[in-house]
């Protein structure tokens, strides 16, 4: 349970980190919070020859509201989101989900962007990123690209992030007061990986009809997924209890659930239905 040897680099600037990434290529790995990477190394499932520790790069440590978006730098840690980082539904959703992320001493270290780069299928931040339409700002030496969440997640633990690239920032839209966000997660013990989770966002018009709807599911497939048919079914009508239930039932149908020894597909499907309904109802209860 000891990590294999590696070279350690602690750049002081973003530019220096990008130069190191360019130099080390596939052999280099960014170390941010380390709460997923270090256990993976301890199990020797990952053996990066070089770790590029970004923890001393002050310019990456921020989380600020700007031009209608919440900009989250690569060093913003999970614990930061336990308190409201922004007024309105987006900040409240992040605070609601934050307490489900592992445990308090993990949240003091692990980072929002690190979760998106690691892309665990059961990650709360990944599910929220897909639900709200996050945008990733990816840097490499001499280049930059913006990747929408819909194009980010490829498969289990796999994103479009290249070996020479740094996920420098993720941004989320700051939803207005006409949006209602919901979150529900099921796991057997506090802090465990989710067996199923749902993130929902509904926009209500002046008449109380659903004018926009997003539903994302996590922990149930190789990547977070959108329940598009379920979201579409809610549009154009008031969010009555019957309609929420019908949407939740649709969410449970539109995908192939991950199966394992403890959780057969049908059980996971049923949990998706329950989590989606709870998230939707919870978002409208306040």
């Amino acid at each position: 349970m000891k990590c294999p040897p590696f070279d350690y680099h602690a750049p002081r600037s973003q530019a220096e980190a990008l130069a190191l990434l360019a130099r080390h290529g596939e052999e280099g790995k960014i170390l941010a919070g380390g709460q997923s990477l270090v256990p993976t190394m301890a199990f020797r499932l990952a053996r990066p020859a070089s770790l590029i520790d970004i923890n001393r790069i002050a310019e990456l440590d921020y989380c600020r509201a700007e031009a209608g978006r919440l900009r989250i730098g690569a060093l913003a840690r999970h614990a930061r989101f336990e308190r409201l980082v922004a007024p309105g539904p987006t900040g409240a959703l992040l605070a609601r989900a934050a307490e489900h992320i592992a445990h308090a001493p993990i949240r003091t270290r692990g980072t929002f962007c690190g979760s998106l780069a690691h892309a665990d299928p059961a990650s709360e931040w990944c599910c929220i990123a897909l639900a709200l339409g996050a945008e990733m700002r990816v840097l490499r030496e001499g280049g930059e690209r913006l990747v929408p969440a819909a194009d980010w997640f490829q498969s289990v633990f796999t994103t479009t992030l290249g070996h020479d690239e740094l996920l420098a920032e993720a941004s989320l839209p700051l939803l207005g007061p006409d949006w209602r966000c919901g979150f529900a997660e099921f796991n057997r013990r506090a802090g465990d990986f989710a067996v199923a989770m749902a993130v929902t966002a509904l926009r209500l018009d002046a008449a109380g009809h659903v004018a926009g709807a997003r539903i994302a599911l996590g922990g149930v497939a190789g990547t977070p997924i959108l329940a598009e048919a379920a979201a579409a079914a809610l549009l154009g009508a008031p969010p009555t209890s019957d309609r929420l239930r019908a949407a939740a039932a649709l969410a449970a149908e539109g995908f192939e659930p991950t199966e394992d020894a403890q959780v057969p597909a049908d059980y996971r499907r049923d949990l998706v239905r329950a989590m989606t309904r709870r998230a939707l109802e919870g978002s409208l209860a306040t």
Binding site: M1, K2, C3, P4, P5, F6, D7, Y8, A10, L31, G34, Q35, V38, P39, A42, F43, L51, D53, N55, A79, E99, H103, A104, P105, I106, T108, R109, R189, A190, G191
Partner: protein, 165 residues
């Protein structure tokens, strides 16, 4: 593999050691600083036995490399009691409420609870259980650990009574 010189301030005392980059903070505390109060259970971030405070924040010392802690302040279980060995209120509460069985998980729980009790605001039953769910006790002696931390929180004026769920 070459070693990097680092300086750790542990419980207020400087320690200058040289470590391989892969050496965890937990191993450095135990083997390089000679402070074996920090225990290692799972070595992959699940059990919490190695919890220490790094610049005032509770962290898993097995998921943090010692080189990352260069020039930073660490608090371990050895720093809780007074220099003459007098237990602090939290330690005493563990003693009085049978919060220890085999004692293996105790340093981790003590540091986790120390951090929780130093956070601003009161602690209620939900918060207590939420935070302490982070660590494992292999004797499954959780009720007495909860009782001990509750008692310490009361003594320190940090406890907020809530209606039972």
């Amino acid at each position: 593999m070459s070693k990097t010189p680092i300086r750790l301030t542990v419980n207020g005392l400087p320690h200058e050691v040289a470590v391989e980059p892969r050496r965890t903070l937990a191993d450095a505390l135990r083997d390089d600083c000679g402070l074996t109060g920090t225990h290692l259970g799972c070595e992959h971030g699940v059990c919490g036995a190695c919890t220490v405070l790094l610049d005032g924040e509770a962290v898993r010392a097995c998921l943090h490399f010692a080189v990352q802690a260069d020039s930073r302040a660490i608090r371990t279980v050895e720093g809780l009691a007074a220099p003459d060995g007098t237990l602090n209120p939290l330690q005493r509460a563990f003693w009085e409420n049978h919060g220890l069985q085999c004692g293996f998980c105790t340093p981790g729980f003590l540091m986790l609870a120390t951090w929780m009790l130093e956070q601003p605001g009161p602690v209620d039953e939900a918060r207590l259980r939420h935070v302490l769910s982070s660590n494992l006790c292999r004797c499954t002696g959780y009720q007495n650990i909860l009782t001990a931390v509750r008692a310490a929180a009361q003594e320190l004026g940090k406890w907020a009574e809530t209606a039972p769920a």
